[in-house]
């Protein structure tokens, strides 16, 4: 991308050229941060649902005045010829076929009272993308939970996107019933989509983003800290991440192995969590079927119980049992940034050798305050790996 930016900058500045990006990823703030860091000032379209049907990135198109694609699969070296070419800007688009975009209307239809069929998927996707507040959440819930009328891979992918959006947008503000397993649901839906269309690398990357290091072609978000620091140095406005990065999103294949730590509560003496926290485990398998997976333990203080993190008392600690090989360690710790939200969701991640049927179990040691009473509690969990 920096090469395209460098090669187009002068022509954009003198008005010869427009550049528009389309972001093929789940979280808009990460693209906004990347763009600010790299000083990309072009319009950037947000396509989390993969409506363009792109299977890979990077895709560059050179479009002539008149609206006809002059070159698909363009490379930066094609720019010179593109800028030098003469185009008849009055050339009509008539007769030029539009690329086929995702046929949303054909995927999800419901019978109407009049006996016809009403397309619903397009309507929900539109509201999820352009809406705000409750109408947007309602559209996301439709995409996430309505019965699919066809077993169509794109519909499964969009279901995963909607579930993950609900996890990010809605989870921390609700209680257990609403947010439990939204992330797991997203991973399952994306896996179903990919199973049906294994050549779809945009979908594969959405899983690999959270998956084991072995399955990552490169680190996905290892640049985030550098980007934030650069904005700070420049005096530019920071771009907060609404969805916190899971540790695995920063890792690459060469992730360091840490030493195991001590078990925090070996004699089970700590009092049990009496409902202050929701703990949800999501396991993301290797997309190529190798026996490795990443696991994410998401812990959310429940607003309905007035529970808040008590960070002065120590870090969040998770102890893993029941699975043999654990990377980076059997003991995981999360130390929040200064000033962290007292009700935020915190996610601790690790990797395991994924033997089908194995039971991953463990417990979290959590520091909680409720109505000015603070205590340390233990919350157990278990998860059976799919066969």
């Amino acid at each position: 991308m920096p090469v395209w930016h460098a090669k187009t900058r002068a022509a954009v500045a003198n008005g010869e050229l427009a550049v528009v990006g389309i972001a093929q990823e789940q979280h808009p703030e990460r693209m906004a941060l990347y763009a600010a860091w790299q000083r990309l000032d072009w319009p950037l379209l947000f396509d989390p649902f993969n409506l363009t049907d792109a299977e890979v990135v990077l895709n560059a198109y050179l479009v002539a005045p008149g609206g006809v694609i002059w070159k698909a699969g363009a490379r930066p070296d094609d720019l010179e010829a593109f800028l030098a070419a003469d185009f008849d800007s009055s050339a009509a688009l008539a007769g030029m076929p539009e690329p086929r975009l995702v046929a949303l209307d054909g995927e999800a239809v419901v019978p109407t009272d009049a006996g016809g069929l009403k397309p619903v998927a397009a309507q929900h996707v539109s509201r999820a993308l352009f809406g705000a507040g409750e109408p947007r959440l309602a559209a996301l819930r439709h995409l996430a939970f309505d019965t699919l009328t066809v077993d169509e891979p794109r519909a499964w992918f969009r279901r995963g996107v909607a579930l993950r959006m609900l996890f990010d947008d809605e989870g921390p503000r609700t209680n257990a019933a609403a947010s439990a397993s939204l992330f797991t649901g997203a991973v399952d839906a994306w896996a179903r989509a990919l199973e049906r269309r294994p050549s779809q690398y945009i979908w594969r990357r959405r899983l690999q983003q959270y998956g084991p290091a072995l399955d990552k072609p490169y680190p996905f978000y290892d640049w985030i800290d550098e980007a934030q620091a650069t904005l700070l140095e420049r005096g530019d406005a920071p771009i907060p991440l609404r969805a916190a990065l899971t540790p695995t999103e920063r890792l690459g294949r060469d992730a360091p192995v840490r030493e195991p730590g001590a078990e925090p509560d070996p004699d089970a003496r700590l009092p049990r969590d009496e409902g202050w926290f929701e703990v949800d485990v999501t396991v993301v398998a290797d997309t190529q079927g190798r026996p490795r997976a990443s696991a994410h333990v998401s812990i959310t203080p429940l607003a309905a119980e007035d529970a808040e993190w008590n960070d002065e008392a120590g870090p969040v600690v998770v102890w893993i049992e029941g699975v043999e090989a654990v990377v980076p360690a059997q003991r995981l710790e999360h130390r929040p940034a200064p000033g962290a939200d007292a009700r935020e969701r915190r996610t601790l991640s690790f990797e395991l050798d994924a033997r089908p049927g194995a039971v991953l179990s463990g417990y979290a040691v959590l520091q909680v305050c409720e109505a000015d009473v603070c205590r340390t509690v233990r919350h157990g969990f278990s998860f059976t790996l799919k066969r």
Binding site: P2, V3, W4, L17, A18, V19, V20, G21, I22, A23, Q24, P28, E29, R30, M31, A32, L33, A35, P43, L44, L45, F46, D47, L51, T52, D53, A54, E55, V56, V57, L58, N59, A60, L62, V63, P65, G67, V68, I69, A72, R75, L79, F82, F87, L93, M96, P97, E98, P99, R100, L101, L129, S199, Y201, I202, R205, P217, Y218, Y221, W223
Partner: protein, 68 residues
């Protein structure tokens, strides 16, 4: 380092572009695809829409990419 990494990503994917070329081909019309602007999605109000068709009168570079 970033440049190197993104270049390597781009080059790695260029080899597998057959599928997308089949969807958006040279000679196609720029589609009328309406999507929200990334930065506007971060605002609490409804997102601003951009329709690709509005660029049909310009010399345009359209790039699909991801920040990863």
């Amino acid at each position: 380092m970033q440049t190197t990494r993104f270049l390597s990503v781009a080059l790695a994917t260029l080899g597998t572009m057959t599928a997308i070329d089949a969807q958006w081909r040279t000679g196609d019309a720029l589609p009328a695809l309406r999507l929200p602007e990334v930065r506007s999605v971060l605002e609490p109000r409804a997102a601003a829409a951009i329709d690709l068709a509005q660029y049909r009168s310009r010399r345009l570079v359209l790039i699909e990419f991801a920040s990863w």
